[in-house]
Amino acid sequence: MQVNVSKPETKMSFTNKQMNVADKVVPILLFLCAAVSILTTIGIVYTLFSETISFFKSVPIFDFIFGGKWSPLIEPKSFGIWPLLSGTFLITLIAILVAVPIGLASAIYLSEYAPERVRKIVKPVLEVLAGVPTIVYGYFALTFVTPLLKSIFPDMSVFNALSAGLVVGIMIIPMVSSLSEDAMSAVPKSLRHGAYALGATRFEVALKIVVPAAFSGIVSSAVLAFSRAIGETMIVSVAAGSTPNLTLNPLESIQTMTAYIVQVSLGDTPHGSVEYGTIFAVGLTLFIITFLLNILALYVARRFREEY
């Protein structure tokens, strides 16, 4: 079948003697850039663990984990983390009680009810809430929300968990609403149409079809918001006070882990002292909790992802 029996006469070769330096070096340089993120993680873990271990040489780890009193800067010193933990969780609890219902309701409204025109305006406005610097929220909590609350609860202290918690909650609304809305928008139209065809009303479709189908995304967004609230620093430093207080009364002044770290670094605690070491022990506790929550959020989002 071959038509051309003649030998090829045009000779071609495709060798290239010149070494291409860029293509040898560049991938290595780029890999080094990517490696910075790994080094950052190693740096964080190493710093926190090594300093915490030396801290536990002077303070028994048992006292730290189970102690009910935190006063590392004032005699008699004690190093029980529970007051800081309770302060942190009080703030976080209030924030979640604000952010999850409001965020979820906003997400349902935006994804199931809002006309396109309204959605286009409301969504970016909500996202602005996420871009406001935390120090601005701190100012807002202290100078606007606290006086407002004081008119309702006259014997509330100036620095209190409620005001800070509410404002942290406002800050994380867009986190819940936009991640939940993404999850809801991913629910296929056909599922909705199926329910409407059976005579379901809009709220029935939203609550019985869309929310359950997007459930993992919603849970994941709430977990992430939770983690974000735990790590929030400036709002609580400004508005929640600096009295480590083992209480669940939101009208009292408390101290969170993050606010404690700020307090120490604002003072002139000598490097290498036991007090200085508390930064790392508290920082490690904070890091471990938020890390586990972030992993949980990733896991929930992946593990329970609906296959439509």
């Binding site: 929220y137 202290l142 983690s227």
Partner: protein
């Protein structure tokens, strides 16, 4: 009874009512976020506008609220961003190019990717602890502008990497093929075809990340940016302060006069953020036209 009026008409009308009530409830809930934002902006305007004048930009901090300004803080914030911008751009975009164009799809790559997404969720104050240990003490850079900028670079890097990856991924495959088919090497294709096509998307991400850095306070408190700086930094090894730190300092004072200063400072900070966001939006629109 007609065909559309069946026996459980009552039940249906109840469900309609529920739908209406819930609809209102959802609208109210959505408004809460918007109302809060409005309240925040209005209260800050009312507190701060009276103190928004040139003195704010020309005066150094002072014990007297009437004389205090934020010159050193404004300049410090700008310097910090100028130092961060090239470093975070190179590291972030380099990492994104590596992950999108060079990395083999193996366990190490997946690990790096997972690592980046977990780093994005680490509380900012933890970066402060890292910066304090590594830059301030470990490398003996002291409480300098450089220490602060490097710490903030690490903080925003995950954001820049992820957004740059998205921009690079959006470049059509055909555009890479066209370049390869002309005999371009991988790096030539990346540098001359992929990057020019994705640069405005990448820059949008970088600007948004930098605007995040401009508003951050906690990590800089940790590395010891000062609250009372009556001079401008002259080298990257000088001490410094930034706007959020100055605002924090003023908020922490009990006197109302300092709160007004803080509000004025916040207006300046927000104006700067709005400016950066507008430029990011302009770039993004340009980018959508190109792809």
């Amino acid at each position: 009874m007609t065909m559309f009026q069946d026996a459980n008409r009552k039940q249906i009308s109840n469900r309609r009512k529920t739908d209406l009530v819930l609809h209102l409830l959802f609208i109210v809930a959505t408004s809460i976020g918007i109302v809060a934002l409005m309240a925040l902006l209005i209260s800050i305007m009312m507190d701060g506008l009276s103190r928004l004048n040139w003195d704010l930009f020309t005066n150094y901090p002072s014990r007297l609220a009437s004389k205090a300004g934020m010159k050193s803080a404004v300049v410090g914030s700008i310097y910090m961003v100028l130092i961060m911008a090239p470093i975070s751009f190179i590291l972030g975009v380099g990492a994104a190019i590596y992950l999108e164009e060079y990395a083999k799809k193996n366990a190490i790559t997946r690990f790096i990717q997972l690592n980046i997404s977990t780093l994005a969720g680490v509380p900012s104050i933890v970066y402060g602890i890292l910066g304090l240990t590594i830059f301030v003490r470990g490398m003996a850079l002291e409480r300098s502008l450089l220490s602060g900028s490097l710490t903030m670079t690490l903080l925003v890097l995950p954001i820049i990497i992820v957004s740059a990856q998205e921009a690079i991924r959006a470049v059509p495959r055909a555009r890479r093929d066209a370049s390869f088919a002309l005999g371009a090497t991988k790096w030539q294709t990346v540098a001359r075809s992929v990057l020019p096509s994705s640069i405005s998307g990448i820059l949008t991400g970088v600007i948004l990340a930098l605007s995040r850095a401009i508003g951050e306070t906690a990590p800089l408190v940790m590395i010891g940016a000062l609250t009372f700086v009556a001079f401008l930094p002259e080298s990257i090894m000088d001490q410094f302060t930034v706007m959020p730190i100055q605002i924090f300092n003023w908020v922490s004072r009990p006197q109302v006069a300092f709160h007004e200063l803080a509000a004025a400072g916040i207006i300046v900070l927000l104006a700067m953020l709005i400016l950066m966001n507008i430029s990011a939006i302009i770039l993004r629109n340009k980018y959508q036209k190109n792809v």
